[in-house]
Amino acid sequence: MTTSDFKKGMPLKYKGETYIITAYQFVNPGKGAAFTRTKIKNVKSQKVIEVTFRSDEQVEEANMEYKKCQYLYSDGSEYHFMDNTSYEQFSMGSDIVGDQASYMMDGGNVTIVFVDNQPVSLQLPPKMEFKVIESPPGEKGDTATGGNKQVTIETGAKVAAPLFIKEGDTIRVNTETGEYAERVT
């Protein structure tokens, strides 16, 4: 593959090791081929390095597999999952799961990305529906953010939502940005 195939979360081989792209941007010095500057994370050591690839350069792909899994529970430091096909159980640390934990429900389905048979990242649907379990009453709100307020969804996470959202409403949340998308009911 080349730099035009790059996406966040995509695995690649670099100097014999497997990395995940965590950030990338296009840079063109204008007097030679364009480049793509990346931050890539080593799947074994979790170390992040910065590498700049030439646009015409062949970048080695890494073997990646998506597996449908079930989120079982968290013991505080590790998140435990089960592979829906093999029923094998495994865990991932909070350094990998990160903020996505806010949108995982016990028993819920998630897609987990395996690189070289190692779980490296978690993919939630881009938008998910949650019930609002707590919403400050009436039209009180945080004035600085222009007409919205903090509501709590069933996973316990807080989301900035419009003033008209009430307890018991179901809302759709953008799991990448953590932002309210729309009201479902």
């Binding site: 941007q25 296009f26 063109n28 010095p29 500057r37 039209e139 004035t143 222009g146 007409g147």
Partner: protein, 451 residues
Amino acid sequence: MQKFPARTRRNCTALSAKESFEHLQQKAKKEVWIAGRIIGILDDGFVLQDESDRIDLRRDGKVNVGAIVETRIQGKYEVGDDGQEHLVFDAFDVEVLVPQCDDFFIQPTDSNYRRAVIDRSIREKMVQRATVVDGIREFFKGEDFLEVDTPQMVRLPGMEPYLDVFKTLFVDTAGASEDMFLITSPEYALKKMLVSGFEKIFQICKSFRNKETDSQLHNPEFTLLEWYRGYASYQEIMSDTERMVEFLARKIYGEPKITYQGTMVDVAAPWPRVKVKDLFDEYADIPVEAFEDEKRFREVVRKKGYKVDDTTPYDGLFFSVFMNEIEPKLGFDKPVIVYEYPASMAALAKKCPDDERYAERFEVYIAGMELCNAFTELNDSAEQRERLEQEHEERQKMGKELYPVDQSFLRALEFGMPPSGGNALGVDRLVMLLTDTPDIRDIIYFPHRDL
């Protein structure tokens, strides 16, 4: 009251109401009216924002977030729960000038967000941006330069093989059409003005480079500053660049220092000047003898682990090392002037008189960011013709769209352009550096992504 009234009773801004309400109310003995958008609801009122500021207003009764209203206000001091006196305002006669839209809840990621509610930090950046542009004009006018204006739509674009051009269709009154192009820089036209006898000129204009998206450093439509000095070389341009950036830093911060993403950069002139070949030695451990011998250079780059082979063009070798090992480290204490580029990488620059393998070109790096690209301009029309033809061939090899070599530019050089120096400097990047903004899209009000 009529819907969408044309006139308002506003006679005061939110900011001046807060700062001088006593004077307004008592001395002027008149009603004070303010107007703006309701941006939030309070327990006992609402928050109004106009361009000057935000103000909390107390009022019973329902108002809608998002509506643009005018209201009469009265301020007074009240002792709060903390025992301190606070200035509070009551709102009376709230009149809706423009009703809110049905679902006035705008995500910060929505491109309409900036248009609906001024984010005060972005407004501040727009003020600073204007200060930088004013400052550039002030600097060059102080140096007795003439500001000029040359076309952004041209018959033939620049030839740089690695730039992609925007094409547009021109139609004349009779209906005949012709391809025209948006400039990648105003260079050709400004050089034609040097030929005519203008000696100190500058232009601030939009330039266009296609395919440059997905980046914090590029916007396909961007603002470029170019200036040229006749009877001068790139030495004088280096000094202009140093003095201009120092001038702007003093104008904005009151001292020749800027802080960019946690790094303090001292921009006081003069700046260190380093030859390209010495940079490769210093940062990438490539001795000058290896840098100057393409075969050895290729081998060293390959051994470092970069994916290069015998077909990789020279600048592919150069930039693989430069972008990975050199650029990210340049210009963190002081800006760095990087000069004397390999001649093959400077099609519009004059070769160094003492070493024809290099050309009189320089770039400036501040905090790891390229700011500008400058030359002692090539004024030998025969050599310029040859180099443009080489670029034409290179475009052909790369499968890029081909344009004829611009004969009017070469013809102008044949008439004679005095020895000159010139620089092309990215104004957006300068604004980023001077406002500590890492993403170009935050100092352009309508970046391409949000169109």
